[in-house]
Symmetry: none
Subunit: 221 residues, 4 copies
DNA sequence: GATTAATCGAGACGGTACGTCATGTCTTAGC
DNA sequence: GCTAAGACATGACGTACCGTCTCGATTAATC
């Protein structure tokens, strides 16, 4: 003990380590429950029962069921939609949108919807989702937009953040608000029509009549 | 008696009619609770306690608290954002989007978010929201888009349904997914940039004077 | 409907005539409900539903369901066990005890048990039972005992009230406390053995043939 | 450890043990409520409120309030009327009857009456009462009767079970059916008069002429 | 190899809210 | 006028999960 305090703080993990077996069993049980009964079925109680794990063990690793499910979602989505990449930024954006449409009806998509729903009542869940899912992805997509602007493929006067909202907003709207199937065809339409408004004009690259821009940009009120 | 059987059976409301006093008290209590404690605070139990009404009376009129809150929302939003109208369709669309941004942080907006959240777990709520709120409004907005297409202000080859998604999708995305303040400025940016992709090309179809575009883009109000 | 008023005797009385019809329907419904679901099934609500009568109508005639059921019981028991009668008082007593055993498992018996049970929590029911059922019968039985004493068949130094308790107490005890079948054989045993203690001693007062006492004690069956 | 595996697996009480503090608080609260408001006042809700215990905790130990109250009654009666004992069986019986009369108006007596009432509607309660209260006591009393028969103090041709019914039946009848005070004087009268019929005849022991019995045995009607 | 400390399962605990049931009172419309 | 229908306040029911808290029994790293 003397040596322990004397030397630099060694990791010194005392006691029995957390069981990976338990962790896996918990996440698997949660996944199965969400799959067949939706978010509502994945109660801590049910997860514990199904995984053969004590509630205590769950609460030792997660503060509540939403945190657990966010973990599950992160795990699932990591292997679902890879972040946008490739030499052609516009194509990368298009690919990503189609990817979103693709998984929207699978488990990760439905789980995301459920968690986004819960996030409306629970700030903590929202923060978790933002920190662990949205932020990374959004930043990546934003960078692709920025690159397209640099290359002259997109108008540079639109903030990448707004551009991303324009592209993915309609997709989420369909899923989340309208609860309608998110087809690849719809993703294509959104991509095409939004791009039409964002693309740099054929002849005019970066210079656009300032006056028009002004009036367009004028804040009403 | 003859007349009764002769004519169609009158509704013949039997028994003691529902009390409007109770209904008002319930909705008012729900509103107050949502206002100060959010959706989570508006439990049936709390609503009953605050309104001085028996739980059974609430359950007699609504199957669960979400149905009740949808009723409340319908009531509130009726007086909040009027459906798009006016001679100039583009201006009407713009006005509507600004209206949405305007109320997004008020009670109706927050309540809508909460209910949309609950709708992710409860099909019934979703159906209610669609039937009693979205459908009417969406149809109205769709008609305005269609009119703009007829007048040659918007490209006719984009389905009005998709156009509406492009316009309002980003707004909901901000509110619902990103939980960021929905400013009028943002609504303007969305409107402007989406329009840029949707409006009829200058020399293309119906030939509309470019200058007109300017005024069209001017913020209403 | 025209035929209805045309044919059947037009009671034509506006308010009241329904009264007796309703009363019968109520009691019949109550009886049916008790028969198939026991006391617990005969709620005012259920009786109203089954009889097609409004709850109000029931409450106009009875203060609560127990009062109603006491009425039903009185009706039923009137035709079940007639009060003790006959020239030979001892035989009358014996007959009555056998009568009680006989009906103990029929509807009146079971209903009585249920009401006696409810009477433990509800003074009102108890008073009703006493006033409308027990008192009359008990008085009659007491008179028979008294007569037997006068005739010299029973010892005169035992209060008739106590004698009645000795005779019927064990019967009720079996039914009520032990919930065991009340056979005629058991009634006989009780009668015989209690009588052995109550009857006048052979040579004592009115001189009864000793042999009778002996035989009386023989166990039947 | 060796011994543990060697021997049969011990009961192995898993999980957190039931709290005796909670149990005591619950029973005490129940007792207090019964004391001042009768059986009706001792609702689960009220017991929970008064004892500061959660309803769930109560339901974890008892299926319903009657089961709880039976437990309370067992506890109370254990210290109230001790089972009959002593060298002289007749005196023991007499003492027991006086004991019953003694406590009949105290809490255990009133509680027993209430539970017997509830038992008329609820088989489960009845079974509990029989198993945990009546059976033991009845067996003890029966043994005393048997002993008295062996000693020649009581006629041997009467089943002890019937004898017990004859002795205590009238007491319960008074309490339960007539709701009249159970005095020691009444207990004495019952004892004396029943004994008069059960006592072995001075000279006559077991021989009784079978023939006379027939006519008297005839079923009246 | 013994000590030790955090893990594990199990399940009891105080809570909150749920949705249901029956009570007895009341308020309508209808005949 | 009384009836049927049914809304109403009340109060208790029994259930579901929540997140926390004991328990005794395992582990593995440290001593």
């Amino acid at each position: 003990m003397a040596s322990k305090t004397a030397v630099s703080p060694p990791p010194a993990v005392r006691g029995r380590p957390r069981s990976n077996v338990a962790r896996r069993a918990i996440l698997d049980a949660a996944r199965a429950l969400v799959e067949k009964g939706g978010y509502a079925a994945a109660t801590i109680e049910a997860i514990a029962a199904r995984s053969g794990v004590a509630k205590t063990t769950i609460y030792r690793s997660w503060p509540n069921r939403s945190a657990l499910l966010v973990d599950l979602l992160v795990e699932l989505s990591a292997q679902a939609v890879p972040p946008p990449a490739g030499p052609n930024p516009l194509r990368a954006l298009h690919t990503e949108m189609r990817g979103i449409a693709d998984v929207s009806d699978d488990l990760p998509g439905r789980l995301l919807m459920a968690l986004l729903g819960a996030a409306q009542h629970d700030t903590e869940i929202h923060r978790e989702l933002v920190d662990r899912l949205f932020q990374v992805r959004r930043a990546a997509t934003g960078r692709v937009v920025r690159q397209a602007q640099v290359e002259g493929a997109l108008r540079p006067d639109v903030s990448p953040s707004v551009a991303v909202d324009l592209l993915v907003g309609p997709l989420f709207f369909r899923m989340f608000v309208r609860h309608e199937p998110l087809t690849v065809g719809f993703a294509d339409q959104v991509f095409r029509n939004v791009l039409a408004g964002l693309e740099a004009q054929p002849g005019a690259t970066k210079s656009r009549p300032p006056r028009a821009a002004k009036s367009r940009r004028r804040a009403p009120r």
